[in-house]
Every structure is written in structure tokens, then in C-alpha cells.
């Protein structure tokens, strides 16, 4: 039995320690917001937070996640109102939407570590996330907007 915390809840998994966290989240727990895109840490569709860090769940084994705190897109905020989520909605970033769980999870870590990122900072932090629909111009815009929203929330 492998125990970890997912979105604040303790969960026990009767799975192989070799199993990638992605499949435990999706198939065992039924949280399908985290996406399978490439399986080899190339596209970022499966990004979750592991003890606060953005990791590719498709290559993160359960043995590594054991005892840690996992946050998925479903647990990023209570009401779909993390500044990144709000900014994504405001700018209507998604097209098909498939990659955006991962995009938002990556952006959330960027916004925490660097509350006022430049275009270059955004490029550096977000280049690991592929969007085949090509929503990149809007992702950039949304991260700047989220940064402003985050700033306002503080005041």
C-alpha cells in the first residue's frame, strides 16, 4: 500500500511502486484532469505539484510520490479561482483545452516563485508545455494578467 496526500486528502494505493503517478491519479483515483500527452516528459500535459514543485506525473513513479503531497488541477483552487485560472478564463486561452491543466499547473508555480515574470521568464518556465492548438500568445497574456491579479489580491 502506498500512501500519499492528493488535494489535501490521504489516499492509499494498492499499486506497483513502479506505476507512474499519472495513471494512479487518472485510473485508480479517477481524477482525469491530469492528462496523458506523451508519456516521456516532453509535453507537460501531465504536470502536477509534488510537495509544491511542478513535476511530470507520467515519469514520476509512485515510489517517489510516496508520503508526499500531490496537488492536481482539480485541487489547485476551491472555486476555479486561482489567479491563473481566472486569467485563463478572462482571456479565453484554451482552444481544445487538453494541455491546459498542465499549462496552468506550470504557470501556478511560476507565479508563486516569480510573481512578476517578464516575457523571457515566461518563455523559460513554460517552454516545457506544448500546445498543439497554438494558444501560446494567449498563455503569455494570461500569465501577465494573473500576475496583476495576484498583486491586487495581496493589497
Amino acid at each position: 500500500m502506498i500512501q500519499l496526500t492528493v488535494n489535501g486528502k490521504t489516499e492509499n494505493f494498492d499499486v506497483s511502486p513502479e506505476m507512474p503517478l499519472l495513471w494512479a491519479i487518472r485510473d485508480t483515483l479517477g481524477l482525469t484532469g491530469t492528462k496523458f500527452g506523451c508519456g516521456v516528459a516532453q509535453c507537460g500535459a501531465c504536470v502536477v505539484h509534488l510537495d509544491g514543485e511542478a513535476v511530470r506525473s507520467c515519469v514520476t513513479k509512485m515510489s517517489r510520490a510516496k508520503g508526499k503531497n500531490v496537488v492536481t488541477i482539480e485541487g489547485l483552487s476551491q472555486n476555479n479561482d486561482h489567479p491563473a485560472q481566472k486569467a485563463w478564463q478572462e482571456i479565453d486561452v484554451p482552444q481544445c483545452g487538453y494541455c491546459h491543466s498542465g499549462q496552468i499547473m506550470s504557470a501556478a508555480v511560476l507565479l508563486r516563485e516569480n510573481p512578476n515574470p517578464s516575457d523571457q521568464d515566461i518563455d523559460d518556465a513554460m517552454a516545457g508545455n506544448i500546445c498543439r492548438c497554438g494558444t501560446y500568445p494567449r498563455i503569455r497574456k494570461a500569465i501577465h494578467l494573473a500576475s496583476q491579479m495576484q498583486e491586487k489580491n495581496k493589497i
Partner: protein, 720 residues
């Protein structure tokens, strides 16, 4: 790609209130104003609901449900179809539910979401049906109140009696309205009267795409379903010679391993399926599988041979003529000077972010399918025929698609899922890996174009285009003694007015590599060849490329696109170290012009500084969706031009995943400005037409800056 299904079936499609036996089947996701979506399983409407027409369902409480009959793969049908209906029906977008239709082409007309056809093939009918429904509701109210119809109007889901101010909501009127004869010619609003159409309304499905709640095909779960992964012949059409499942069956969770077929039209592919109780177990089991293939009986191609063969054919053969006027061959033979060059574009995979997947449940005498599907009607037809079950008993449920780009209009993966389900006797989800998705096709075909032309008095005297590349239509049985009907796709029609001698021919070329539609289809490759060659002609004539096009495209809409490009890009004021390129193409009834600005990178290579895009798609619904589609098309076009290609060795794809089939990333994207031409022409497509002009506009800009003409894609911006 699809026939226009804009038939006037107002009367036929209006249902009378009949107690609703056999009425609408709906699967979808209700979007209550309050938040979380509720999955609605296929079921008949409840007795109290009234289907006023196939797109409009009204609940006694007044709740209006609008049906989206097309696939949502990012292009926005889930927003734009309801936005049209809500406008003429007079309901607020915030108050409606939207659901997907199941596949039912008798009821909805064509449902293939391809050819950028959703709006252009159905908007006139949707406007008319919705306006008729509104008039019926108003008539029902006026009858109830015993007042004049002209004193009543509809607003926000209510009918209001102007003099008295009394009002009733649609739920109180729907039953009476449904008993009325539908008006044949309901009064439609003028464009200037629109409150929703032509407004950049936010998409109703966006919030579900920011919290992980939206259910794509791969996220769909059916009670009791298993998961499967299939090892298929990497050369596509080989047979399973033998396989050893011993190790695979030892993987915990693996339940069954067996040979399975997958139909691609009438061509059968084979594989070995590993069925398990989780996706991961199926994938792990497949890794342990040993399969020996018999890939004899068809030729195995390698990329150099493909393009050498195409080139040789273009040297030797005239091909099958699709279009001709004047006599370009004769004019070219007498010309003192002519250009004769070859353009080349690679094979491409679609690699939508959501890998191919499908759930099927073969129940013996019926089949139910759930998945990311662009063409539910095609799947119904094909599966019904292949598995010998009545079409009405093949239920195809559309989920949201994580991208489609033409790949998910194919029937092969639903067929395979049904075959696996039939074998196990229960529901199963077949999941393709990224590698399966990238390497197993069908692909955009690799193409070669021989372009010949000559100039006389500063204008094009003759153009002769021949193409050699696989015809996607051959896979579905198109005759091989007829040219590919898309040979001239992308080429602007007004050129035929100014160029007296012009011809397009298709030189037959076939391989055993499966091909299919890829966003904007042949326009995506034709456009590169033809619009680059027009640029070569402009250079030959010593003319400015934009002016040269203006002279040759003497048609009002083209002139407006050209004027707009000149105005917004500052074309005439460009500086010495800046390269400007232009290209204009037309496909799916929309014309798009793009200007690309490039400069030399201080570290070497070329930098794209800016792209200006001008879209004339006629009548349109949501300008923000158009902006998004144009931006996305440019990014996709950039990848296809500069970063990825599929190559083959003995039919086997040499790329595997995003590490060797690289997509553009956020740090590689130019700044993009989009402009829409406002007019009242018939609606054209939006999802695809902005892709073809990008590659030629870029390479024309590079020529402008460096004098180097790029005729083969992809090329590297870093090493130009």
C-alpha cells in the same frame, strides 16, 4: 471534404408535440449556471420537455437547451452554434444548457466536422429554425393573451406584451408553440441588429478547461470498462505471423491478449491487443509482447525514394488535367524566358494533444461508441457495415476532442475498439500511445509540385502546375484515372481572370503509406508551392510582390484584403534590414492574406518579428474565436514549415515522439496581429484557411531579406 448540407428543411425538422416517442436522444454535459457539469447519458427527453426543433429543447421551467450537432475540438462549435441559435431565439447565453447531439444525420444533416464547415454549412438553417421557433413562441403568447402578434416581442427567454408589460417565459409557451405550423419565412435580424452574433463572447466551455472538469474522450469512463493497448504492424498492412503473450499475461492486471483487426476504409490492418484493468497495465503488458509480422505483399518505401520518384514523374509526365484555360504548354514552349522549379513538402502526423482513443461496447445486437470523434455519421455508416449491425443500432457519442486536425475524422480507431470489445464481450477503451499516434498514420501526404511560368509585359502570361503526391481519396475508393479534385485548392479564383493561360494537373503517385486529411488538407501544401511561385513571378517581373498580387487579383474582396495587409503591416515603409513576405490563399470559402516580417538574428539564422493576418470569411459569429483560430493556424503552420516532418525507412516512421517530432514552443512564437474583414458575404470557414498562407509568406520574406528562395519544407530558421 464535405458536401454542403445547407438544405432547407425547416418544415421537415420541426416536430410536433407527439408525446415525444422516439424524440431526441441526447448525450452531453449540461452547464447549469451554477457550476459543475452533469453528464447526461443517452436517453429520451423527459415527457415534459419539448423539442421545438432538433437544436432547441425547452423545459417547462423555461430552461432552454441548445444542441451542438458538431464536434468540439478547439475550433469553437460548442460556442458558435449556440451563439447563432440564441440570437434568433432570443435567449441569453448565460441561461442556456448546451449539449452534444449523438450521431444522427437524418436529424441534423451532415455532422462531419471537417472542411471548416460547421458554420458555413448550417448557419442559414440555424438562423431560420431559431427565428421560426421565436415566432411560434410569440404567436402562442398572443393567442393565449388574445392580443395582436405585432404587440408582442421576445427577449431573454420571455415573450412580452408591449402595451401591458405582461410576460410569459418560454417554458410556459413551448407546448402551445409546438402545435403551431412553423412559419416558412420567419423574419431574420439584420446584422446591425445582432446582440450576440459578431460579438466576442467568452466561450461557455472555458471554465471547465481550467479546472480539469471537462471530459475528453480519454477521460470518459463507462461502468465495467477495461483498457487496451494494441501493437500494430509498423509497416501498416502486414499480417500477424505469430505472437507470444506469455510474458505479457504475467503482468499484473493484464486479462487477455489476442489478435485484432483494424479497418482503414476497405483496407485491413492487424494488431495484437493487450486488455487490462488499467491503462498502465495494458501498456506494460504490451511492452512484454513479442510479435512477428509478415509485411510482405506490398512495397516498402523510404523517404528519398518517395521524393525522387515524384520528381522523376514530374519530369516525364503531363498528368491528369483538373483545370486548364488557354494553352500554357504552348505559351511556355515559345517563351524566351521561363521559370521551371520544383517545390516539396513533407509527410506530417497530426499529433493532437489527446492521443487517439475510443471506447466501444459491442452488445451483440447493438454497438455503442464513445470517443473523440469528428464524424459520428461516418463512424455509424462504417461500423454498421463492417460489423453487420443496423445503423440505427450503432450509437456514436461525441465527447470533447483534445484536438482533431482531420485525424479524428477517420474510422479506423473506432473500428478497432469495436473489434476488441466484441472479442471480450464488454466495454473497453483502446488507448493509443503518443508513439502510436505519431508513427502509424494516416499522414498528410508528402508532395512535389512542378511549377512553370512566364512573364510578358510585367504580368503572368502562363502558369503550369503539376503535382505528384498521394491522393487521400484513393484510400476511400476514389478513381485513379481522375485527378485529385484538390489539385488547385488554395489558389485564388480571381487569378483565372488575369492569367490567360493556366493549368493544374495531378500526376498519379501511390505508396502503401496511409494518408488522410490534415488541417486545411491540400491547401496546406499547394499554398506553399503556388504562392511561393507567384512571388517568383513577381521577382521575375521586377514588381513589388504585394503590388503584383494587386494587379493580378482584380476582385473587390481580394483588393480589400491586400489593402488591409498593406495598411496594417507598413509594407511600403519597410526598412533596409527587414524582410517582408506576403501570401494569400483561399480555401473553404475564406480568403486569408498574411504578411510576415523577418530579420537576421545576431547569432545567425532568421528571426520572425511579426505576422499580420487578414481574414475574409464573410458572415461570422464570434470574432474572438476567429482570432484564436488564426493565431493557432499560424503556430501550426510554423511547426509544419520549420520544425517537424515524418520520414520513412522501409515504410517505418523514423520519428517517435515530441523529442524527434518537435512542436513549436512558447519561446518560438512570433507576435501575431489578426484582422477580420467585415462584410455580409456568405460565411466561409474559419478553422483551417489561415494555415496555408503562413509558410509561403515566411519563405517569401526570407527571400526578400536574403535572396535565398526556399522550395523545400521543412527548413531550419537557425541555418537559413
Amino acid at each position: 471534404m464535405t458536401k454542403n448540407d445547407n438544405i432547407d428543411n425547416t418544415r421537415r425538422n420541426f416536430l410536433k408535440l407527439t408525446g415525444l416517442g422516439g424524440a431526441a436522444l441526447c448525450l452531453g454535459f449540461y452547464f447549469p449556471a451554477s457550476g459543475a457539469p452533469v453528464v447526461v447519458r443517452p436517453s429520451e427527453l423527459s415527457d415534459s420537455e419539448i423539442e421545438l426543433c432538433p437544436w432547441i429543447i425547452i423545459n417547462p421551467s423555461g430552461k432552454v437547451t441548445i444542441v451542438n450537432h458538431r464536434a468540439e475540438m478547439g475550433q469553437g462549435s460548442f460556442q458558435s452554434v449556440p451563439q447563432i441559435v440564441a440570437e434568433e431565439l432570443e435567449v441569453d447565453m448565460n441561461d442556456i444548457n448546451v449539449i452534444f447531439a449523438i450521431g444522427n444525420e437524418k436529424k441534423y444533416g451532415g455532422q462531419i466536422t471537417g472542411g471548416s464547415s460547421t458554420i458555413r454549412s448550417s448557419y442559414k438553417r440555424l438562423l431560420k429554425l431559431s427565428a421560426a421557433a421565436r415566432e411560434m413562441l410569440i404567436t402562442a403568447a398572443s393567442t393565449k393573451w388574445n392580443v395582436s402578434v405585432s404587440d408582442c416581442y421576445a427577449e431573454s427567454g420571455h415573450v412580452i406584451h408591449k402595451p401591458s408589460g405582461k410576460k410569459l417565459h418560454y417554458g410556459e409557451l413551448a407546448e402551445a408553440a409546438s402545435k403551431l405550423e412553423a412559419p416558412k419565412e420567419p423574419k431574420l435580424k439584420k446584422i446591425s441588429e445582432y446582440k450576440l452574433i459578431r460579438k466576442p463572447l467568452r466561450r461557455i466551455d472555458t471554465p471547465l478547461k481550467t479546472n480539469g472538469k471537462l471530459v475528453f474522450g480519454l477521460d470518459t469512463r463507462i461502468p465495467g470498462m477495461l483498457f487496451a493497448s494494441v501493437e500494430r504492424d509498423p509497416r501498416y498492412f502486414g499480417k500477424v505471423k505469430n505472437f507470444d503473450a506469455t510474458a505479457a499475461l504475467k503482468v499484473p492486471g493484464v486479462k487477455r491478449v489476442f489478435k485484432v483487426k483494424m479497418g482503414y476504409y476497405e483496407h485491413i490492418r492487424e494488431g495484437v491487443a493487450v486488455v487490462a484493468n488499467s491503462t498502465w497495465a495494458a501498456l506494460e503488458g504490451r511492452k512484454q509482447l513479442k510479435v512477428e509480422w509478415d509485411s510482405s505483399g506490398f512495397k516498402h518505401w523510404s523517404t528519398p525514394e518517395i521524393f525522387d520518384t515524384q520528381n522523376n514523374l514530374l519530369k516525364a509526365e503531363e498528368g491528369m488535367i483538373l483545370k486548364t484555360q488557354g494553352n500554357p504548354t504552348e505559351v511556355l514552349s515559345k517563351a524566351n524566358k521561363k521559370l521551371d522549379v520544383v517545390y516539396q513538402t513533407p509527410y506530417q502526423s497530426h499529433v493532437a494533444m489527446e492521443p487517439i482513443n475510443c471506447i466501444a461496447h459491442h452488445k451483440g445486437d447493438s454497438i455503442e461508441i464513445w470517443g473523440p470523434i469528428q464524424a459520428p455519421g461516418w463512424v455509424q455508416d462504417y461500423v454498421s457495415k463492417q460489423f453487420e449491425i443496423d445503423k440505427e443500432k450503432v450509437i456514436v457519442n461525441m465527447t470533447f476532442l483534445g484536438g482533431g486536425f482531420g485525424r479524428k475524422a477517420m474510422n479506423d480507431y473506432p473500428y478497432e475498439a469495436v473489434a476488441v470489445s466484441k472479442e471480450i464481450g464488454g466495454p473497453v477503451q483502446v488507448v493509443w500511445t503518443r508513439e502510436d499516434d505519431a508513427t502509424l498514420g494516416p499522414f498528410r501526404p508528402g508532395m512535389s509540385y512542378r511549377c512553370e511560368g512566364t512573364i510578358s509585359n510585367g504580368k503572368i502570361d502562363a502558369l503550369k502546375f503539376r503535382m505528384a503526391g498521394q491522393n487521400n481519396g484513393h484510400w476511400s475508393g476514389a478513381p485513379k484515372d481522375k485527378p485529385n479534385w484538390s489539385t488547385s485548392e488554395g489558389f485564388l479564383k480571381p487569378y483565372y481572370e488575369s492569367i490567360k493561360n493556366v493549368s493544374f494537373a495531378d500526376v498519379l503517385f501511390e505508396t502503401s503509406i496511409p494518408t488522410s486529411f490534415w488541417r486545411s488538407v491540400y491547401a496546406s501544401t499547394n499554398g506553399f508551392a503556388y504562392e511561393s511561385f507567384i512571388d517568383e513571378m513577381a521577382h521575375e517581373a521586377g514588381k513589388d510582390p504585394l503590388d503584383f498580387r494587386r494587379e493580378h487579383l482584380q476582385e473587390d474582396r481580394c483588393q480589400k484584403v491586400i489593402d488591409k495587409m498593406q495598411e496594417v503591416s507598413g509594407w511600403k515603409n519597410r526598412k533596409k534590414n527587414e524582410g517582408y513576405g506576403v501570401a494569400i490563399t483561399e480555401c473553404f470559402n475564406s480568403t486569408v492574406g498574411q504578411v510576415v516580417k523577418v530579420s537576421k538574428n545576431p547569432d545567425g539564422g532568421i528571426k520572425i518579428d511579426k505576422v499580420w493576418a487578414v481574414m475574409d470569411c464573410g458572415w461570422y459569429v464570434n470574432p474572438d474565436i476567429i482570432h484564436a483560430q488564426v493565431e493557432g493556424s499560424i503556430v501550426m503552420g510554423l511547426g509544419a514549415a520549420t520544425t517537424h516532418q515524418i520520414t520513412f525507412k522501409e515504410n517505418i516512421v523514423e520519428q517517435h515522439n515530441f523529442y524527434d517530432y518537435p512542436m513549436p514552443r512558447i519561446n518560438e512564437i512570433p507576435s501575431i496581429e489578426v484582422y477580420i474583414i467585415d462584410n455580409e458575404e456568405d460565411a466561409g470557414g474559419v478553422g483551417e484557411p489561415a494555415l496555408p498562407p503562413f509558410a509561403p509568406a515566411l519563405t517569401n520574406a526570407i527571400f526578400d531579406l536574403t535572396g535565398k528562395r526556399i522550395r523545400t519544407l521543412p527548413f531550419s530558421l537557425g541555418t537559413v
